[in-house]
């Protein structure tokens, strides 16, 4: 934090020199970080050597051997919810950008965002009507 001068509101200079971005310092820093990571990884590998066994490489499923395959098909609800989530997630991304710059924007942009939200609300309503928000599939006995 740079101290603020109460009277003028400007940042006061301190005894420390201001930092100027420079390629050299960044490179040295990156190299140091890389070296520390490598040293740590090598050390753990060396101090505690890996011991693998077929049993250890097996997936853990409550202490029994997992069977019957894992390549099952995801039921629709998962995919639907994921899609819907993506759509409305993108919406929030736009909304944030729009909200933080709200003061500087024109009424036209307000109208624009209203249309944008309206379209998405419509699609949400459609999703709802089609049963896309129903969780779980009917049970087959």
């Amino acid at each position: 934090m740079t101290p603020i001068d109460a009277a003028s509101g400007a940042a006061t200079t301190t005894a420390m020199s201001p930092w100027e971005p420079g390629g050299m310092a960044l490179t040295v820093f990156a190299l140091l970080v890389g070296a520390v990571v490598v040293v740590l990884l090598l050390l753990t590998r060396y101090v505690n050597p890996a011991r693998t066994s077929p049993e250890k490489d097996r997936p853990y499923e409550c202490g029994v051997i997992p069977t019957a395959g894992h390549g099952f098909r995801y039921p629709a609800p998962f995919a639907l919810v994921a899609m819907a989530f993506l759509v409305f997630d993108v919406e929030t991304a736009f909304l944030y950008a729009w909200a933080v710059s709200f003061e500087k924007l024109t009424p036209a942009s307000f109208a624009g965002i209203c249309v944008f939200i309206g379209v998405l609300l419509g699609s949400l309503w459609y999703l709802w009507q089609k049963g896309g928000l129903q969780w779980g599939a009917p049970v087959k006995r």
């Binding site: 101090v47 066994s53 409550c62 029994v64 019957a68 099952f72 779980g136 087959k140």
Partner: protein
């Protein structure tokens, strides 16, 4: 102690890096539990606020072997679950250490029986043993500290640098019987003497002295007029061969020929007025080792029925020949007969005609023979030592085989258990999932089969009491009560008023302790962490009272035939009064935590609701039955002891869903407190043990003074009293439901056959019927709300 162990004794000169690594490892132990039984409860208690295991570098249990470096094996290791234990150990990342907690895990403990491994160190290396049965939480903390000391001396860098000494992680070798450990119960130098328990071993009962002791005949009850009429009706309707047995000690008993049994049962179940709705139990007795075989078949199949309306029970005995035709299955009448019949098939080899999937249920896979036959080996120490080579044959059965149908291409097969938090014990739910929805489910039990019914056949009548505590390890003396009442009713032993008051008070304390744990685990399973820490606070208060009175926490074994072990100690009343003062406010707090809590209600309301009719049919009992709106509590309907004179209400629910099961238990806590309050305020004076020295233990102090008491004390403690010939079933309202003991005596000092009708067995079996269609989170909530316990299911 191996070479590595000796090296440990003389730690080599440390270097700085060694010290740093050892210090880091010792102070960041991440325990992972393989919790099987009672020990695990004490282990879990060590994680709560009073003991606070977090000081050792772990705030929570680790969920999988990948995240942990200390495996705490707590409880009994069963042959059926042993492959899973070893697999978990092998799936842990190194360096890793193992703590074996409790005498069962250390050596098999008191469970010297065919289904138990005599020490987990026979299959995986153990670094630290924590003794006790069960060890107190402090003992586990001490074990962890001992492990830390050990880790701090390991010097893992030395072997890497080629220096002598130092080890990398814990031990690596398991022990081998006859080489590095010995299972011989006789001790060194006694190889010529008879093995323990020979006097109770059929067919010869070598050295058994029961025949020298005279006993009066068994106590008998007069069969009511209503029962007599019923017996006559059946005899008229189904023709000859149906005989009423006289005398009886407990209920109307009819002998029914095999070919008529199914029809008689169907008639009894569907009688329009006062039907025998509930199939209380199905079991069998192997009659081949009787003192006199005269007029006895090879087996008796025993059906016990319950009539809700009349509060009456009825027993049907079906004689069977060894290789004769199989009796008809009654699964078409009671869905719940499925497990009962499978168990009889598993344990006795009796088949059932018309049973759809008569596959093994309890015994380990590929198990030779039928454990409850008289000729089957009893003690593990007399069998071939169990080694790692035996594990592959015992590998848990493939999940598809359990499911019993192929998967369709949108389904996924999931093993939920045997080793999982949500299963409340080692139990395996095989789920066919469509998304999160459970399409089909099967339950595999038997991972906790302690062979307690087999053990009973070679423990004398008093010796067996400590085993009952461990059947439902959270209900302590409530288990003792079911057992001693069955034996007392058989022998006609009178119990004094004061003994009764102490018994009931302790049982109600255990009900509180159990329900507090239920509350904590239920909400924890729903993902809410705090409550369990609160409820364990009161549970510790309860256990402190129990400990002051009995000296034990979980397993006091405090009841005796004819009374209790000792009188109440000075100061008990103050403790109880203090508890009565604080508890109502605490329970209010607990309810407030979850009252109208939207998450809690969404997870429990309407989940796996069970109707009254279903609950009665499936044999659900206890709070789970009352949650369905059935007003049925043995303390009121078939009262015993001082319950008729006590004021308390029986809470019932309406919908039988998870939420009601929770509410009923919360209210039961209040009622238990009322009972305790009344008893504590009005403790009757007098002796706490029956003067009936034929069966009961005389006062120890008196046995040091007069010869009569010495003789009876000595005989009844050493070889045990001789019980009259007969049979008796008695059930009590244990915290989890109706727990009944069926004891058969052949005039020996040991039970000829003992069978436990446990509440969890029926409650959990019913989960197979009502869970499909719900989701995995619902299953977790359901299992927690059913409040079952493994050793009482698998026995």
């Amino acid at each position: 102690m191996g070479r590595a162990g000796e090296e440990m004794m003389r730690p080599p000169q440390p270097n700085a890096v060694d010290l740093a690594v050892d210090w880091c490892r010792a102070n960041s132990l991440w325990p992972f539990f393989f919790g099987l039984s009672c020990c695990f409860v004490e282990e879990a208690t060590a994680f709560t606020s009073r003991y606070d295991i977090a000081r050792f570098g772990s705030e929570v249990f680790r969920g999988s072997p990948r995240q942990s470096d200390v495996l705490i094996v707590s409880g009994t290791i069963f042959k059926k679950v042993a492959p899973a234990v070893l697999r978990l150990y092998e799936q842990m990342a190194g360096p890793k250490w193992v703590i074996s907690m409790g005498s069962c895990s250390n050596t098999g403990g008191m469970y010297d029986v065919y289904s138990v491994v005599q020490g987990v160190d026979q299959i995986l290396p153990v670094d630290i043993y924590v003794p006790g049965c069960p060890p107190r939480p402090e003992a586990l903390l001490h074990g962890l500290m001992a492990l830390q000391e050990r880790v701090k001396r390991e010097r893992p860098l030395r072997p890497l640098l080629g220096l002598p000494g130092g080890v990398q992680g814990g031990r690596t070798e398991h022990l081998v019987d006859g080489v590095s450990k010995s299972m011989d119960t006789r001790g060194p130098g006694f190889a010529g003497s008879l093995a323990r328990g020979t006097a109770a071993a059929p067919p010869h009962f070598e050295g058994n002295r029961s025949r020298l002791m005279w006993t009066p005949p068994a106590a008998r009850i007069e069969v009511t007029q209503r029962d007599r009429t019923l017996a006559e009706t059946l005899a008229e309707r189904f023709g000859p061969g149906i005989e009423q047995q006289e005398p009886v000690s407990d209920m109307l008993t009819l002998s029914v020929p095999r070919e008529k049994a199914h029809d008689v049962l169907a008639f009894l179940k569907t009688r329009p007025r006062s039907p025998y709705r509930r199939l209380e139990d199905v079991t069998a007795v192997d009659e081949s080792a009787r003192q006199s075989r005269e007029g006895r078949p090879d087996f008796h199949l025993v059906y016990t029925l319950l009539n809700f309306r009349e509060a009456a029970r009825l027993r049907l005995k079906v004689p069977l020949a060894k290789d004769g035709p199989a009796p008809d299955s009654v699964t078409d009448l009671w869905e719940s007969a499925d497990w009962y019949e499978r168990e009889v098939h598993d344990m006795f080899g009796v088949g059932f005609a018309g049973h759809k999937r008569l596959r093994p249920l309890i015994a380990p896979p590929n198990w030779p023979g039928h454990p409850l036959l008289k000729g089957h080996p009893r003690r593990a120490t007399l069998m071939k030592p169990f080694t790692r080579e035996d594990l592959p044959a015992l590998e848990p059965v493939d999940a598809l085989e359990l499911l019993g149908r192929p998967l369709d291409d949108e389904e996924m097969l999931l093993n939920f258990g045997p080793h999982h938090y949500g299963t409340h014990g080692v139990m395996r739910y095989v789920l066919a999932l469509h998304g999160e929805t459970i399409n089909a489910m099967d339950i595999e039990i038997g991972y906790h089969h302690r062979g307690v019914e087999k053990i009973a056949e070679h423990q004398h009548w008093h010796q067996f009491i400590p085993y009952t505590d461990r059947v439902d390890y959270l209900s302590g003396v409530a288990n003792n009560l079911s057992y001693v009442m069955a034996v007392e009713q058989l022998a006609g032993i009178r119990v004094t008023d004061r003994a009764w008051a102490i018994r009931v008070m302790l049982c109600e304390f255990f009900r509180l302790s159990n329900h507090l744990l239920f509350y904590g685990t239920l909400v924890q399973d729903l993902g809410q962490m705090s409550a369990i820490f609160y409820s364990f606070r009161e549970r510790e208060m309860v256990l402190d009272i129990i400990e002051t009175i009995t000296g034990g926490r979980l397993h006091p074994s405090w009841l005796r035939l004819g009374g209790v072990a000792q009188d109440l100690p000075a100061g008990w009343k103050d403790m109880v009064d203090r508890f009565i003062k604080v508890f109502p406010a605490r329970i209010k707090t607990y309810e407030a935590l979850f009252k109208d809590n939207p998450i809690f209600e969404a997870r429990t309301k309407g989940v796996t609701a069970v109707t009254r009719e279903q609950a009665m049919d499936w044999g659900i009992s206890g709070p789970n039955l009352r949650a369905c709106g059935v007003d049925w509590d043995l303390r009121k309907k078939m009262p015993y002891g001082p319950y008729p004179s006590l004021n308390f209400d029986v809470p019932t629910g309406t919908t039988g869903d998870c939420h009601d099961r929770y509410l009923v238990r919360m209210e039961e806590m209040r009622q238990s407190l009322r009972i305790i309050e009344q008893i504590a305020a009005d403790m009757p004076p007098g002796p706490v043990a029956s003067p009936d020295s034929r069966y009961c233990l005389p006062d120890k102090a008196r046995s040091l003074k007069d010869i009569e008491s010495v003789i009876h004390h000595f005989v009844n403690v050493s070889r045990g009293p001789t019980m009259p010939r007969g049979e008796c079933y008695h059930a009590t309202e244990a915290p989890r439901g109706e727990q009944g003991y069926y004891v058969v005596s052949d005039g020996l000092t040991t039970p000829y056959r003992l069978h436990i009708r446990s509440p969890g067995y029926a409650n959990v079996q019913a989960a197979r019927f009502f869970t499909p269609g719900h989701t995995i989170p619902d299953l977790v909530a359901t299992l927690a709300s059913l409040d079952y316990i493994l050793p009482d299911i698998d026995r």
